[in-house]
């Protein structure tokens, strides 16, 4: 049985079909990514799975249960991080996570442990309003995980972070499903999904365009490999091995760049347009 089973999910806001016939499964222990530009329907899909919205059509099973209506048995088993930083005003980071620990009925010491795991110990006595974007996301993730849920939803945890903070957060994120926890992440960064996710669903206009491992998605694209030598010459080839071998013979390997296809190329080929973040 999968951690999540979604069949023919649909949701409309008036005329706009925000989610339009979405089906997928997430296996237990999987790191699952939903990527797509803003307005693709990622957040709405996630909110229906979390049980925040009632779908217009389709069925959802989360850990074997329906998330709607709100179920007191399901809630302690899932953790959520919402798009905004949902904190109690004017509490310190420690008070914040202690409050969430109490709401989930776990010892406050769990909160302290999680502060340590997300590297927020030196900011524990800082009020949430004074935290940087990255620190605030770390705290938010810690609050989502304080009760050790089996399944955790992270909605664009790296949005509006600078590249440095974003990469710092990747280390943290890649560790949170080590213990067999299922993670569902939405993002509009292709590189992020490529690094973190076992499987990726590419969404646009409320539909899933492709769903596979990042590697398979790129491979399916059969994009040429681009090899750029130190003196600026670029070679596009679908068989890079012989080209590289020849370059090696000519002693030209120093300073070359090899770029294979990326998810970004996949997105471009699927939608036929530039990626709009």
């Amino acid at each position: 049985m999968g951690a999540i089973e979604v069949v023919d999910l649909a949701m409309a806001y008036g005329e706009l079909r925000a989610v339009d016939g979405v089906s997928f499964e997430v296996a237990e222990g999987e790191f699952f990514g939903i990527i797509g530009p803003n307005g693709a329907g990622k957040t709405t899909t996630l909110e229906m799975i979390e049980g925040l919205r009632k779908p217009d059509a389709g069925t959802i099973k989360v850990l074997g249960q329906s998330p709607w209506p709100r179920s007191a048995r399901l809630l302690p088993r899932i953790g959520v991080q919402l798009q905004a930083s949902s904190f109690f005003e004017r509490l310190t980071a420690r008070e914040q996570i202690h409050t969430f620990a109490s709401l989930y009925g776990v010892p406050t010491s769990h909160g302290d442990e999680w502060l340590e795991r997300v590297g927020m110990v030196d900011k524990a006595d800082t009020r949430v309003e004074k935290l940087s974007g990255g620190q605030s996301q770390r705290l938010s993730i810690a609050c989502a995980l304080v009760h050790e849920p089996e399944l955790v939803f992270l909605d664009e945890p790296t949005a509006s972070l600078d590249p440095q903070a974003r990469r710092n957060l990747w280390d943290l994120l890649s560790g949170i499903n080590d213990s067999g926890r299922t993670v569902v992440l939405t993002t509009h960064y292709m590189d992020e999904a490529e690094v973190l996710c076992d499987r990726v669903a590419i969404m646009d206009h409320g539909r899933i365009l492709e769903l596979d491992t990042p590697r398979q998605l790129v491979k399916g694209l059969a994009a040429p490999t681009r090899i750029t030598t130190a003196d600026g010459e670029t070679i596009e080839t679908r068989e890079p091995a012989p080209v590289l071998a020849r370059l090696a013979e000519e002693q030209k390997l120093d300073g070359i760049a090899v770029r294979t296809g990326t998810l970004e190329d996949v997105f471009l080929s699927l939608t036929g347009r530039e990626y709009r973040a």
């Binding site: 925040l52 919402l82 905004a84 904190f87 005003e89 004017r90 409050t99 709401l103 009925g105």
Partner: protein
């Protein structure tokens, strides 16, 4: 229970660390109390400044008991020049100038302060009449004794404290509820709590508990300061004001909920709460009594929940009414709270969009 407690603590901390809300809930209304209590506290009429020109036999030869009454009423200065004394009265430096001509007392007074003018004439006439009666050598046929109805006449502080307390509670309950609803909606904390295994009852209960707690502290500070510094005297069953105050808090939380429901930002919600509460404070009699207001205004005041809170507070705290005086205002406040809550529930949105 643990969830309730830690939610309450989180909300209370959020309140205490917000200097603006503490200021508007406690300090700001207290400033009004100090202003009214301190500035206008001495409500007994100040003495009448009387200028005696030359000798006035009536004043100089008053018998002892009349002399004391006279000294309580008048502050006497002596002059010799009538013209100069009249000029002083005209300039407002004195209230009346008195000169005696052949047994006739001539009082030159100013009409600028009509109340004082009336007091001057009445008091002088009383002394003249008293002297005339004494001159006949007969005992007076009628006598007058005056007694106050209230144990201490309803001085300014007695009136102002219950009204200002009502206003303070209305303000902090409405602002708190409005800001919490909007703030939590905007940060998606409402959504986040919806996904935590706590019931709506627990969340709402914790918010109410904190607001009611703050209201009780406001009451203690107001009554404590009023009694200690400005001579406030509580009467009869003042303790019955506590359940009334709790109901008033609930009612104005509903006002805040409504304000938060019809607005889209925290600032908008607080402004809306202010827009509802401040005029209500004026028209509902928090700052001045409505007894002298036109009939239509008094009728209109009956539609304002703050008016009923103020009336109930006055009855219980200083007018010496029994505990049963709490029931009518409480029932009306509960009615307002119910209507506003139902309205807010209809308008409720999880998110701002």
């Amino acid at each position: 229970m643990r969830a309730f407690r830690s939610l309450s603590v989180a909300i209370l901390r959020g309140f205490l660390r917000d200097k603006a809300s503490v200021f508007f809930a406690i300090i700001f209304p207290l400033m009004f109390l100090v202003l009214f209590g301190g500035l206008f506290g001495d409500q007994s009429q100040s003495k009448v400044d009387l200028i005696q020109v030359g000798d006035v036999a009536l004043f100089d030869e008053l018998p002892r008991p009349a002399r004391e009454a006279f000294d309580d009423t008048f502050e006497v200065e002596h002059r010799q020049d009538l013209e100069a004394a009249i000029a002083e009265v005209r300039d407002g430096d004195a209230d009346v100038a008195v000169v005696e001509r052949d047994g006739e007392l001539v009082a030159h007074f100013t009409q600028t302060d009509q109340v004082k003018a009336a007091i001057v004439q009445g008091a002088l006439r009383a002394f003249v009449d008293g002297a005339n009666v004494a001159a006949t050598g007969q005992p007076p046929t009628y006598s007058l004794r005056t007694e106050r109805v209230e144990d201490d006449s309803l001085t300014t502080i007695q009136f102002v404290t219950p009204g200002l307390l009502g206003w303070a509670i209305a303000m902090s309950a409405a602002f708190g509820a409005a800001a919490t609803l909007q703030g939590w909606r905007q940060s998606k904390l409402l959504r986040r709590l919806q996904l935590a295994p706590v019931s709506t009852r627990t969340v709402v209960g914790a918010r109410i508990a904190v607001t009611v707690g703050v209201a009780l502290v406001q009451m203690a500070i107001f009554l404590g300061l009023g009694a200690a510094a400005f001579g406030l005297r509580l009467t009869g069953s003042w303790w019955a004001a506590i359940p009334l105050l709790v109901m008033g808090t609930l009612c104005f939380m509903a006002v805040g909920l409504f304000a938060g429901s019809v607005t889209k930002t925290v600032e908008g919600a607080v402004n809306m709460a202010n827009f509802l509460v401040l005029p209500m404070a004026f028209l509902g009699g928090s700052f001045f009594p409505l007894d002298a207001a036109p009939d239509w205004l008094q009728t209109f005041a009956n539609l304002l929940p703050l008016h009923w809170l103020n009336e109930g507070m006055l009855d219980l705290l200083v007018r010496g009414e029994g505990p049963s005086a709490m029931f009518v205002p409480m029932a009306l406040l509960a009615g307002f709270a119910l209507v506003l809550t139902l309205l807010s529930a209809r308008l409720f949105r999880w998110e701002t969009q």
